[in-house]
């Protein structure tokens, strides 16, 4: 028995704090969760007792997450700001974790040396590094650490029955509960139950001479002897779990998580999705994988039997979707709500004392002797070096993961955004960040302004969000159809959410914003583009909230901190004595059960060697398949796949290396050609799916038909490419396609255009804009509007003209009614219109009535995704009338009209032509609007097509468009009676502004076509400019 301070523990604490404490400054802020906790902390710092926070999800309650860690950060933020609080709590968590691991090791082994090794290994445990430095799960770590601390107390209470330990153990359980809800619940099952088993075992052991004599009968007797202690502890900890965070349970009951499950990597099949396997299995287990047989050998000894069972369960549950067992054990619901990586976390933490014991025996115990005797001391050293090297490798690998594969976008300087929101009452509208990653929480923490988005997905409330498996709108592109689809709903009807400003840190979303009628406002100093939508009303002064009773608020605000204070005062005395050795304390009971480390069974060494060999072979096989997968030119399929992957990730040099060397296109030339092509596919698309069909394969040549599916912000694009392939010296190459050698006529030319400038406020004031500075809304006129039914779906179509002398930004909203004037649905025009109109410009429009996707048929969510996926609204009754509200606002941007329609060829059901860019801006994405007219030149349908390539200045871009068959279309109502412009009836405007309208003009400009259900078409062009100059 060591007297004095345990040197190993001191070393562990010293190294732990130095290593983790200094590196959290570089890792914690870019973890997944840390900034979310920071936001919650900011909430408590500002309104301690009020659980409602308006800033996320149009309002949500913070009672959906145990508050202790957040409140601690909140309190500390009064001293040195939020980040000070975050890092201080981080340091505390590190201290608690290392000491917790030490005490857990001591409890399990009864040996201070082993406990010391446990503490040191805990510092370098890859699972802890990952949880802290990559996931940033502070509450989880804190709760787990305190749970480890409480285990000793629980053991002593059960073993000795001294009341003091009863209170200390309960006080620590209370702190655990208030910091994290899942940890104590599952901790009870996976940590406390086996602990109880171990106590009973120990008590039984006292009654008999050896473990051999420990029969079930003895065990049962001891259990009955301890029964009331166990029950009292269980009962009171249950009460604590319920009462300490009672508001949380009430809130969960009131707002059950009814949302569609969000996919999480820990539920994947790790063999299929190897990245998930790496993050959620390989890294947490790390070097422990090699000593698994030893761990299970020790855990299945009689004393640890129950830990062994628990360990087995945790290991299996942690494998996620790799085996069907976790799904069967947990059931569908729990499987989809829980993130299964926490089971692995617990398993690896539970294994620490055994690993510590192993290390001790390996370094200075019987294993060392055994190996040295058996294989010689050199081998022992090599083995030790291998293990130590492995630990170091895992530490560095895990730490560097966030550096080489950052999970977050580059750190954004939030100050310009915060200033923008504070200016000019911009915070009277909601905002939405796009492409911010988890940093959006940090932005929210710094401003009072509200967003429709949020970063705690269990608290989502809007059905637009909960019916889809998206975490945030902000990163919706990573969630495919569901993400982009949700985002489109918010962007199309922003006035419903008072959403006016969007901060875009990812140009992927820009085309979507443009075609939904948003406009660029300004670029902030930090490079973030601000987009703005006109005609959105500010938020009402009073916003709804779900209030909770006062007692609930008081409980929530006081109990967590009280639990810490109480735990502190109850435990401080023991801690004080232990640390300062001021008084001699009796040796704790668990020291009695120390096993002597001698005569290590040789068979375990052999088994472990075999196991380690298996692990190594598996790893080697993994690396081999990884390499083979990347051998890109072994077959025609491989070279095509590699080529498209390279293109998708914009690795043009790699892509070029797959081209046929004999038809040499110099890399410079290739780069030039690739870099000048713009358009939705080359600039805004992500390759989603690809199928390759090889035809005409001969020994040295093949043709490939490549069917590609691209996800763009606007729609899913299907594209077929044809490639000729050649085989040269055993490697396959792609033959380069022909190059467009077209050259524009003019080297330099000039263009004149009218530009507009709006001062905004001419008078500098903090008040509302002076009435003299408010511009008149441009007058629009609805030329025609119809409610039609086509393919079982209702739409409102029509034509509209800006009849004012100013350019207008147009917003159109249609509402459907039935015969009894009951409102059935309303929606805004998305991209079936030109949102910006010059004076006297006309546009066709179409409004589709979109429902909230899959709210009816939850089980039929399509497996692959399509952002253009459209969910028609479920109408209870037949719509017969409609109301159209058009609003114009003065526009001064995005007024480019340089695109022209050139050389058309009309076949029966197809039109082929060219777009020519006659202006001086490069058009990134052209939109073709096709309006169908009947023989009387009356509008019957509006359709759209995004042309997939951009049109550069003075260049042509071919396009083709397939006509629809609109013979089955039914016009339900074509009355202009309920059409309003800027709140005024359309008829009065029509009479006043253009009294002598030449009705024939629209008809004279139509293109005759002999189509199914239509006789004429009109083509209109809308152009998105990615980089306005």
């Amino acid at each position: 028995m060591m007297k004095g301070t345990n040197v190993l523990l001191v070393v562990a604490l010293f190294v732990g704090v130095a290593f983790h404490g200094s590196s959290i400054f570089f890792t914690l802020e870019s973890t997944y969760d840390a900034l979310i906790h920071l936001f919650f902390a900011d909430h408590y710092a500002n309104s301690w007792f009020e659980p409602w926070d308006y800033r996320w999800y149009t309002g949500f309650t913070v009672q959906g997450y145990p508050p202790l860690v957040h409140q601690l950060i909140g309190i500390l933020s009064y001293i040195g700001g939020l980040k000070f609080g975050l890092f201080t709590v981080g340091m505390l968590a590190i201290l608690l974790y290392v000491t917790g691991a030490y005490r857990f090791g001591l409890l399990m082994s009864g040996d201070k040396k082993v406990a010391g090794y446990t503490a040191i290994l805990a510092v370098f445990s890859s699972t802890f590094i990952e949880t802290l430095h990559i996931f940033g799960q502070l509450p989880s770590i804190s709760a787990l650490s305190i749970l480890l601390h409480s285990m000793t107390e629980i053991y002593l209470w059960l073993k000795t029955g001294k009341r003091r330990y009863f209170f200390t153990s309960l006080s620590l359980i209370a702190v655990t509960v208030t910091s994290h809800h899942v940890t104590p619940i599952f901790g009870m099952v996976f940590f406390i139950f086996p602990l109880i088993g171990m106590v009973v075992m120990d008590v039984s052991r006292d009654k008999v001479d050896s473990y051999q004599n420990l029969t079930f009968k003895v065990f049962w007797q001891s259990f009955r002897q301890l029964f009331w202690r166990i029950v009292s502890f269980g009962f009171f900890s249950l009460i604590l779990i319920v009462t300490c965070i009672l508001p949380y349970w009430i809130n969960s009951k009131k707002n059950p998580i009814t949302q569609v499950p969000i996919p999480h990597g820990s539920r994947d099949n790790f063999l299929e999705v190897t990245s998930s396997g790496l993050v959620f299995f390989m890294i947490p287990w790390g070097i422990l994988l090699f000593v698994l047989p030893y761990i299970f050998y020790r855990f299945y000894s009689k004393r640890f039997l129950f830990f062994g069972l628990s360990m087995t369960m945790l290991t299996i549950l942690g494998t996620g979707g790799t085996t069907p067992i976790p799904l069967k054990l947990l059931g569908e619901t729990a499987f989809n709500i829980l993130t299964l990586d926490r089971f692995t976390l617990w398993a690896t933490i539970m294994a620490l004392p055994i690993f510590g014991e192993f290390a001790y025996r390996m370094v200075e115990g019987d294993i060392k002797q055994k190996i040295q005797n058996k294989f010689g001391s050199v081998y022992h050293r090599i083995l030790g070096g291998f293990l130590a090297g492995g630990i170091l490798f895992m530490v560095i690998f895990t730490m560097s993961l966030g550096y080489f594969r950052p999970s977050q976008p580059q750190k954004i300087n939030m100050l310009p955004i915060v200033n923008f929101l504070n200016q000019d009452q911009h915070d009277r509208w909601r905002y939405l960040p796009l492409g911010f990653g988890d940093q959006m929480a940090w932005l929210s923490a710094q401003t009072k302004a509200m967003t429709v988005d949020g970063n705690y997905h269990s608290a989502r409330r809007l059905p637009e969000l909960t019916t889809r498996a998206i975490e945030r709108l902000e990163n919706s592109k990573f969630r495919g159809v569901e993400g982009i689809g949700s985002l489109q709903q918010f962007l199309t009807v922003p006035e419903k959410y008072n959403l006016k400003y969007i901060f875009s840190n990812d140009k992927f979303y820009d085309p979507l914003l443009y075609f939904c009628g948003w406009q660029r406002l300004q670029q902030l100093e930090n490079g973030i583009m601000v987009w703005e939508k006109l005609n959105v009303p500010p938020m009402p002064a009073i916003l709804p909230k779900d209030d909770v009773p006062k007692w609930s608020k008081i409980m929530w605000g006081t109990i967590p901190i009280l639990t810490v204070l109480i735990a502190f005062f109850i435990n401080i005395q023991m801690l004080w004595i232990r640390v300062l050795k001021s008084r001699k304390i009796p040796i704790a009971d668990y020291f009695k059960y120390k096993v002597s480390y001698s005569k290590f069974p040789g068979v375990v060494i052999v088994v472990n060697h075999i196991w380690a060999l298996i692990v190594l072979v598996c790893l080697g096989f993994g690396f081999y398949t990884f390499y083979m997968h990347n051998a890109s030119q072994r077959s025609p399929e491989n070279v095509i796949t590699a080529y498209y992957n390279a293109l998708d990730f914009k690795e043009f040099e790699t892509a070029h290396s797959f081209l046929d060397k004999e038809k040499e296109v110099p890399i410079a030339q290739y780069m030039l050609e690739v870099s000048v092509t713009d358009g939705i596919l080359s600039s805004y698309a992500k390759l989603d799916a690809m199928s390759i069909e090889i035809t005409n394969e001969t020994d040295n040549g093949a043709k490939a038909v490549v069917e590609t599916d691209w996800v763009t912000p606007l729609e899913r694009v299907h594209r077929t490419y044809y490639h000729d392939l050649v085989k040269r010296k055993g490697d396959w190459f792609i033959q380069p396609s022909y190059l467009d050698t077209d050259i524009p006529p003019d080297q330099l030319f000039s263009d004149n255009a009218t530009k507009f400038y709006n001062h905004g406020r001419r008078r500098i004031t903090t008040q509302q804009t002076h009435h003299e500075d408010v511009l008149k809304q441009p007058v629009l006129e609805v030329l025609s509007a119809k409610l039609v039914r086509y393919n079982g779906q209702y739409s409102v179509i029509g034509e509209l003209q800006n009849v004012d002398n100013l350019p207008a930004d147009v917003v159109i909203k249609a509402t459907l009614y039935n015969d009894d004037d009951k409102e059935l649905a309303n929606y805004d025009a998305k991209y079936h219109m030109k949102h910006k109109l010059m004076p006297m410009e006309t546009t066709s429009f179409k409004i589709n009535f979109e429902g909230i996707a899959w709210s009816q048929t939850k089980d039929t969510i399509p497996p692959t995704f399509n952002p253009d996926e459209f969910t028609p609204i479920e109408l209870e009754e037949q719509p017969t009338k409609f109301n159209l509200q058009c609003a114009g606002n003065v526009a001064n941007t995005d007024l480019y009209k340089g695109l022209t329609l050139q050389s058309l060829d009309i076949e029966d059901c197809e039109v082929v032509g060219e777009l020519y860019n006659s202006g001086i801006q490069e058009v990134t994405i052209p939109l073709l609007l096709a309006s169908y007219y009947d023989e009387e030149k009356k509008l019957v349908w509006v359709d759209h097509k995004f042309v997939q390539e951009g049109v550069r200045v003075q260049r042509k871009q071919p396009f083709s468009y397939d006509f629809l068959n609109v013979a089955s279309l039914k016009i339900i109502n074509s009355s202009l009676k309920n059409c309003f412009v800027n709140g005024l009836p359309n008829t009065s405007i029509a009479e006043k502004v253009i009294p002598n309208r030449q009705e024939g003009h629209v008809g004279e400009q139509l293109q005759p076509v002999n189509g199914d259900g239509f006789e004429f078409v009109k083509f209109e062009l809308n152009s998105y400019i990615g980089n306005p100059k």
């Binding site: 002398n805 010059m838 009294p995």
Partner: protein, 413 residues
């Protein structure tokens, strides 16, 4: 323990109960006389009300005003109660009602009127809108005025307000009388586009300048011209269409930015589109020359308001016939040199298509290329086209050539 419970119980019991209040009785011999009351004052003056109260009680005065009631306590001098209401409480013009009460018993009611302080007129609240109207005399902006005194009270009805209106290089003065505290006037546009400036004045007080833009009215039919380098359909040069200065029905130039659609009808029936927005009434539209001979009829529209004359222009074919050379095994096809209208090599980028049919006329494949230095090249490799007879069709600049070829093995290999 019992002791504590007893004490606690006592505490609880004694803490309940109601405070007993004895209501003060209204004396029976109460009588009031109004000694001095005010009927009308001008804002900024004080009001003094005096009452003789018998009965030895102190009354209070309740003054109703638009911001809520005010209570005043009197200054008692024997039985005379004097209420002086400070000017600051009664600056707002209008009728004030007062009530004199004692212990909730109403004794007297009355009212006085506060008039605006006309001699201290300090400003005119104005609103002028909409900020822009159309020329032609049908459209108007409304000028709304409220002349106010120093206390922000509207001046009495009948106050004369004069309006100065500057439009079309001349200033007109209009007078109007206030009614209900305000006055409004609809100021109509003239036939000239420009700017209307107004201001108002009363009692030597002048408002600021207000403005409304008068924008042009509906445009009328106009003319277009075109400009091109040559009349060859080379698909490379740009035709520029230009309108003359488009005017509205009163001769004003239309607003800058007015969109003009140029609709081009080709002789084959297709309609091409270009557009331009006006600067100083002139809109310019650009489009490329066609790639094959055609006749164009161009009409420009300001949809719903005006259209132009029809301009007609025709294009001659720019490319004569072209040569086609085959390699020995017929697998390399060299199209060209394609020569332009003055025997120059056609500019790079002319589209050449090659369609391959098998000997039975079944379509196999279509390949396209752009001319470079007047020449287009196709390579029909053996691995894709086995040795056989084929029909190939070559198209460039609207000219089509057909060949029957037999593809054979490359002898060199």
């Amino acid at each position: 323990m019992g002791r504590y419970i007893f004490i606690g119980l006592c505490f609880v019991l004694f803490s309940c109960g109601e405070e007993v209040k004895t209501p003060a009785a209204v004396p029976n011999d109460l009588s009031t006389t109004i000694l001095n009351s005010t009927e009308t004052i001008v804002a900024g003056e004080t009001v003094t009300l005096e009452f003789d109260i018998r009965g030895g009680v102190e009354p209070i005065l309740i003054l109703e005003k638009s911001f809520g009631p005010l209570l005043f306590h009197p200054k008692m001098n024997d039985s005379v109660a004097t209420f002086s209401i400070p000017a600051s409480h009664i600056q707002q013009s209008g009728v004030y009602n007062w009530q004199l009460t004692v212990l909730s018993k109403l004794l007297e009611v009355g009212e006085f009127k506060v008039l605006p302080k006309t001699e201290k007129t300090v400003g005119i609240e104005t609103y002028f809108g909409p900020r822009s109207i159309r020329a032609g005399g049908d459209d108007f902006s409304m000028l709304f005025m409220v002349p106010v005194d120093i206390y922000d009270n509207p001046l009495p009805d009948g106050t004369v307000v004069s309006i100065n209106k500057q439009m079309d290089q001349e200033v007109k003065v209009i007078t109007a009388l206030t009614k209900n505290g305000y006055v409004w006037k609809n100021l109509f546009s003239s036939e000239r586009a420009g700017r209307m400036l107004v201001n108002t004045s009363t009692n030597n007080i002048h408002s600021k300048e207000l403005t409304s833009m008068i924008s042009p009215s509906n445009s009328v039919d106009f003319k277009i011209t075109y400009n091109r380098v040559h009349d060859f359909a080379d698909g490379n040069q740009v035709v520029i269409f230009k309108t003359d200065q488009i005017k509205d029905r009163f001769g004003n130039t239309v607003s800058d930015g007015t969109l003009v659609n140029f609709s081009i009808e080709e002789d084959k029936g297709t309609i091409l589109k270009t557009k331009g927005s006006t600067i100083d009434g002139v809109a310019t539209g650009r489009i490329l020359h066609p790639t094959e001979a055609s006749d164009w009829r161009v009409t420009a529209y300001i949809t719903g308001e005006a259209k132009s004359n029809d301009a007609t222009l025709s294009f001659r074919t720019a490319v004569g016939d072209f040569e086609v050379q085959f390699s020995e095994n017929n697998r390399f096809v060299r199209v060209g040199p394609i020569l332009g209208f003055m025997d120059q090599l056609v500019p790079d980028g002319l589209l050449i298509t090659l369609e391959v049919y098998d000997k039975n006329g079944k379509f196999i494949e279509k390949a396209t290329t752009n001319s470079s230095k007047g020449i287009g090249l196709f390579d029909m490799e053996e691995r894709f086209f086995p040795n056989d007879d084929y029909k190939i069709k070559l198209t460039a600049a609207g000219i089509q050539r057909e060949f029957q070829v037999a593809l054979t093995s490359d002898e060199l290999e």
